[in-house]
């Protein structure tokens, strides 16, 4: 079978990986080719801070919460091996801050040591009255994507009105004394339009921009100023941090993830398509769960085409 995977961000590469893992010994020959105009380090996944955390609430999309948890558990299982460094994954704890009490988030049972913030902790963040502390995972695209590509064959797409860009901009600064992520939430402004600080492997990501429908991938000096000032307000020690980089990316936003089969007719035989897109700002967070589901759909196709093990009897 020949499989073409379109897109080489975390979703494309991990989907290719899951299909390969489950079927390369069942379907023979199995060729998987990844097609994209951008590869690491130029994809949206590369620019993202690389912090595992879904949006606070899944709005009834329980399937997405399940896939998020699956991804977390999968990545966590690698931590006991030194392989984790090659993958760019590590544990990091931190604070989710809200200006008023809020219901527990969808991911409270997925992360480690989830609890409400104590009064003492809230004193550290004036202006915020409520929040949570937990230990989560970092997964840095610039390291993880090359790891996914190891062993992959690479080669050198359908308008969907529900798919829109959610423009984000971030700053990368040198502030190695920061070891906790801090994410603030403003329910009037919407997800990621409120400051966040996410220490990474070498640099700290500062952000808080989510502009629906904005296709510009240019850095905006207005956004830069807003991000920097808000971050310094949240974490005064940043005043002395050196700004190293600016980056903008377009989150592939959709009302919910599109993960399903579609047959596209071209002549007499249909081309089987598995869609796996629309992960917004939580692609790294959900990638494995979705990739496994895509591999399962692939398995259905294998069955239908009679290419599975039974075919060899």
């Amino acid at each position: 079978m020949r499989v073409a995977v379109i897109g080489a961000g975390v979703i494309g590469l991990s989907t290719a990986q899951s299909i390969y893992e489950h079927y390369h010994s069942i379907v023979s020959p199995l060729t998987i080719e990844v097609y994209a105009d951008k590869f690491t380090p130029l994809t949206t996944s590369d620019g993202a801070a690389g912090f595992w955390q879904p949006y606070l609430y899944d709005k009834g999309n329980v399937q997405e919460t399940k896939w998020n948890k699956e991804t977390f558990d999968y990545l966590l299982s690698f931590l006991k091996s030194p392989e984790s460094i090659k993958m760019g994954i590590f544990l990091e704890s931190g604070y989710n801050l809200c200006s008023e009490p809020a219901p527990d988030p969808s991911f409270k049972d997925s992360v480690l040591g989830f609890r409400q913030l104590t009064d003492r902790e809230l004193q550290i963040f004036p202006g915020y009255k409520f929040g949570w502390f937990n230990t989560a995972l970092m997964i840095e695209g610039k390291t993880y994507l090359p790891w996914l590509m190891d062993g992959m064959w690479s080669g050198q797409l359908q308008p969907d009105p529900d798919l829109k860009p959610g423009r984000g901009q971030i700053l990368k600064v040198d502030a190695p004394w920061l070891k906790h992520w801090i994410i603030t939430h403003d329910f009037t402004k919407g997800t990621y339009n409120s400051p966040y600080i996410i220490p990474g492997y070498r640099l700290v990501t500062l952000g808080g921009v989510f502009q629906m429908g904005n296709w510009s991938e240019q850095n905006s000096s207005v956004d830069h100023k807003e991000i920097w000032e808000k971050a310094c307000q949240l974490e005064p020690s940043l005043k002395h941090a050196r700004i190293v980089d600016d980056w903008s990316g377009l989150r592939p936003v959709r009302s919910k993830v599109r993960l399903e089969r579609e047959a596209i007719w071209s002549g007499e035989t249909p081309i089987e398509v598995i869609h796996n897109y629309g992960h917004g700002g939580f692609g790294l967070t959900i990638h494995r769960g979705c990739a496994e589901e895509a591999a399962r759909l692939f398995g259905q196709i294998v069955e239908q085409k009679g290419k599975g093990p039974k075919a060899r009897l």
């Binding site: 091996s81 704890s93 970092m138 004394w177 492997y201 005064p236 941090a241």
Partner: protein, 344 residues
């Protein structure tokens, strides 16, 4: 004669330039602007014992010091450093917040130590969190502070000088040498007190550590036995260690290096891939209890108040500010006793 004029002539010397010496000196010079304060020491940062210490705030419990006093020591130190950590000065002072886990192979007698109320978010580890450490049956999770003396001591020195303090590099061999030029002696000489004031109760506890490059390690991990620990810092991760009582060796011991790497990698396997930046040995200035008290000593015919603040063992950074404040209180008491009766 007014009190201010009298106090202007009081000359205070603080002996020792480690974290205890400089913390004490800063407390005194900032609280008593009418005293002249000199800090005198043989070794300064980066050559003090404090410089190699990871500087994570933890405490032990000393047998003979009232618990209330120990609680004050810890709380005062913690609150002082927390205020710095939250301010713009944090990177310049070398202070940061650090979250992590203290794990025990056997369930300890005391599950919630006295300092648990002073650190942040103290709780017992969940079963899922403990799964990462299969050799350990029990654990505590909390957020504490890390204070890196190789950065903190120069920052304190700046603060000390700004408030009018004088710094002098000189090895003090005995208290007699000081009695001519100073009215109050504050002894923060750590292990040096063994010779300087003849305290036979002071002994070294040798500790060896490695500094490695592992920026993906964001949490501290400490074995409750105090001998194996991983402390991520601003630019490196300190891993250790050893606790060799009565051992005066300052050279790196390769067997200890091997032991440290083995024990720490078992807790955090990714450390196998970490580059070793350097190794260091320090002698914890240990004593059954820290000596924070004052006495009056006859030196060259004069009665000189001597205030002691030494013997903090491996808890110097943790207790520095709290014991410095205590010491300041003792200096004030000494000043009060020295004040001449008003002449009518």
């Amino acid at each position: 004669m007014c009190r201010a004029a009298m106090m202007k002539s009081v000359r205070v010397v603080v002996v020792g330039a480690g974290v205890i010496g400089f913390s004490t000196a800063v407390c005194i010079v900032e609280a008593l602007p009418f005293c002249s304060v000199t800090l005198m020491a043989d070794k300064f940062s980066p050559d003090t014992t404090s410089d190699g210490a990871a500087g994570i705030l933890f405490a032990a419990q000393f047998p003979d010091i009232p618990l209330q006093r120990q609680k004050h020591w810890f709380k005062d130190s913690f609150d002082h450093l927390l205020a710095i950590a939250q301010s713009q000065c944090a990177p310049e002072a070398g202070v940061m917040l650090s979250s992590g886990w203290q794990i025990f192979k056997e369930v300890p007698a005391v599950k919630k130590p006295f300092w648990s109320e002073f650190v942040i978010g103290f709780r017992l580890m969940t079963d899922v969190e403990r799964k990462r450490f299969p050799d350990h049956k029990f654990g505590q999770a909390f957020t504490t502070l890390k204070c890196e003396c190789s950065t903190y001591l120069p920052w304190l020195e700046k603060r000390f000088r700004k408030a009018g303090g004088q710094v002098e590099q000189r090895k003090v061999n005995n208290l007699q040498e000081l009695s001519n030029n100073f009215d109050i002696i504050v002894n923060c000489s750590g292990l040096g007190s063994k010779v300087l004031v003849g305290d036979t109760q002071v002994y070294p506890v040798r500790g060896q550590v490695l500094k490695v490059e592992a920026p993906w390690v964001q949490h501290f991990i400490r074995d409750g036995d105090g001998t194996t620990y991983i402390y991520p810092g601003i630019r490196s991760v300190t891993i250790g260690g050893t606790r060799q009582e009565g051992d005066w060796r300052l050279q790196v011991d390769d067997r200890d290096t091997k032991g440290i790497l083995e024990r720490c990698s078992r807790l955090e396997p990714s450390l196998n891939k970490a580059k070793i930046l350097n190794e260091w040995v320090g002698l914890r200035p240990s004593r059954k209890n820290p000596r924070v008290e004052r006495e009056v000593v006859e030196l060259q015919g004069r009665l000189v108040p001597v205030v002691h603040n030494y013997g903090h063992g491996g808890w110097g950074v943790t207790l520095a500010w709290g014991t410095a404040l205590d010491t300041l209180g003792l200096v004030k008491q000494s000043l009060h006793e020295m004040a001449p009766q008003p002449k009518l």
